[in-house]
Amino acid sequence: MKRKLISLILGTTMIAAALTGCGGSGQADNNAPAEAPAEGGDAQEPAAPEADGAGTSEEVTLTVLAGQSTTDAGIEDMIDAALAEQYPNITLEWECVDWGNDFQPKMQQYMQSGLPDIMIGKAQDVATYAPQGILGEIDATYLDRGLDAARENVTIDGKTYGLVYNALYQGVYYNKTMFAENGWEIPKTQEDLQAIIDDCKAKGITPFASHMVDTWSIGNVTMQFMMNDVFNNDPTWGDKFRAGEVSFAEDKMAQTAYQYNKLIFDNTYPETFSTEQTDCDAKMVLGEAAMKVSGSWSIQNFLDIDESFDFGIFPFPNQSGDSKLIFEPNITVMTSANSEHQDAINCVLDVLTGNQDLAVEIYDYTKTASMLKDVTPTFTNPSQSDIDKYAADGMIVDVTLGNNQLVWGGFQEENAKDIAAWLQGDASFEDALAASDARVDASSAN
């Protein structure tokens, strides 16, 4: 009797659930076309992939796991709209999560049950998941529409598993007006940088804006330092580290890279361990600090606060004075090797790589650089002239090189915590180095 009652309740619940479920999805469908942009590129509509001829108007729903930074949140609507124009029979079912916190757990979760058809992460994810044999190869048709530089670090044993869609630049953002007023030149060496810092201090200006409450920020800048002071000289340093040939405890270059954190810490405002990125970016825009070691993700904030803020970017100077600007492939599309809908997946890749209006819309919205051939974003990026200059001189380096050898989760992220403890005086510099060395087993994704 009692059990009947319970099963009755459960049954009613399920029916109710099913009913509301249908209502919900119907509503989502209604939303999508409403936002479709008027000027869809009829003229430049690329050829549809052979396999999926116009005849196949079979309804397909693809699942998408998108690991995003907040600057990316919102692009899913743009993609939906473009897809609805070109391939109305394909619907994407998005699951958008925060890349830093939730992408890896979600992937672990789905590796137990079956991957979504499409996954959007970062270039370094390819190195983590491709060796598990779960990612599908990306068709050359779509790869060829992207820049060659995009392929390099998402290719394993000659097979490319990721489609890199956009890129971020990382380095030191500086307040152009402030630099001009004080007659500071772009620093090339540590001495140049020190001179600016000294002058800042003499004039009561905070040299660096920083937000060390975010451990990811410490980890990020440390990799920037490592790129120019370690990987610049020794591109396989991470592999040698695992082979036991080099270590943090003995390698002067790696130690120098760690020490730059102290330079920033000593020359920022005292409340850095209580300051978040948004507040930090605001300080930068308000002229309370002259420089900030960061990446393109700050541009959205800068321009939100003051659309006329004038800033540039330069690589953080290394010991040898030949620092390169850091380039990070960002949005990277991966596909499931076992998906039943390879054709439909290819249609989505076709929209992403072939629809230039969509690409420009996304780049403008995220304030990032294009990784597609012949596509240039139209937003005003005051630091673009600097980027172009370094690009022309060949002074740009892809950070995936470092991120593939020394992984983020479990290694870089953990090391950043030790660096924070050292800066706070809770641990010695030697402790931080020893801790990084002890983590050697976790430094590789596999």
Binding site: Q104, Q108, Q132, V213, S274, G409, G410, K417, L423
Partner: protein
């Protein structure tokens, strides 16, 4: 004859009762106990949480655990956080309850004011206090021309007190309600009798209030300790375990090891050890507090 009849009736009753218990038992076992057993199994492997094979490594994870200094410091933080919470929250909650029960006006307004914070999820509470400490309270400093250090989350030495403030802000009202309910059900004549006996306010509190509140104290102490030992959500949106590792709790450490660090087997060993400690603590507390209740 009569006896046998009674026995069979009891058996029959028992069957009916059993049917009442079973659904809950099944749901609970599937949803929580089996996952726990699975975690126990994984704790003997070096599984990375991703690949198909889960290599058996015996007790290695547990041996590593004992030597893991990060895990030890996570325990140290969790213990300090738990002790701080148990003391402060109980004292404040009881204090507030007594104050509200002392016949002040508009009791309901105070009750609501203290209770509302616990309706907010811990994730949001962490975020709100991050903003309070780094933006709002320094602005109060500016306003008053004072120079109090409010940047509690920004230093390994003060981060614990900052988190205690945030956690107590959230939960004091909740436990206060339990104490308040306990106080309001103490018969007034007990106090009268004590007064007639010439007992002062403190003696009345010690000899009447506290013993009568013993069951409430049990609920509160057990609830607060087990809750604090499991702290996680609050940290995710506020200190993220930092600065450095200064506010990394056991669960936080477990989660980052198992997921971000791709050491699922090792992380499982961490959670199994946490469950064991939680069980032990709860057992000791319930036994200890219950025996006090009985005495009185």
């Amino acid at each position: 004859m009569k006896n046998i009849n009674k026995n069979s009736m009891e058996k029959n009753l028992e069957k009916q009762y059993l049917i009442l218990v079973l659904p809950g038992l099944i749901i609970f076992t599937i949803g929580l106990i089996i996952p726990l057993l699975l975690a126990f199994r994984y704790s003997f492997t070096s599984w990375d949480g991703m690949s198909a094979e889960k290599p058996f490594v015996g007790l290695k994870n547990y041996i590593d655990l004992i030597q893991d200094s990060d895990f030890r410091s996570a325990w140290w933080f969790t213990i300090k956080f738990t002790i701080g919470n148990t003391i402060i929250q109980n004292v404040l909650a009881l204090g507030f309850a007594i104050a509200l029960d002392s016949g002040i006006k508009a009791q309901k307004i105070y009750r609501t004011a203290f209770f509302v914070p616990c309706l907010i999820s811990a994730l949001i509470v962490g975020f709100v206090w991050l903003k309070m400490f780094s933006n709002v309270l320094p602005a109060v400093n500016d306003l008053l021309g004072t120079n109090i250090n409010f940047l509690l989350f920004g230093d390994g030495k003060t981060v614990l007190s900052g988190l205690l403030i945030a956690n107590n802000w959230q939960w004091v009202g909740y436990w206060m309600l339990i104490y308040l309910a306990g106080l309001q059900s103490i018969p007034g004549d007990l106090y009268e009798a004590a007064k007639v006996d010439g007992a002062g306010a403190w003696t009345r509190f010690r000899n009447v209030t506290l013993p009568m509140l013993a069951p409430a104290i049990t609920i509160c102490v057990v609830g607060i300790t087990t809750g604090s030992l499991k702290v996680y959500d609050l940290l995710v949106s506020s200190t993220k375990g930092g600065p450095g590792r200064a506010s990394t709790s056991v669960i936080y450490q477990t989660y980052t090891t198992a997921i971000n660090g791709r050491q699922y087997g090792y992380g499982s060993a961490m959670s199994v050890s946490l469950v064991l400690v939680l069980l032990l603590v709860a057992l000791i507390q319930v036994k200890g507090l219950k025996s006090k209740e009985v005495q009185q």
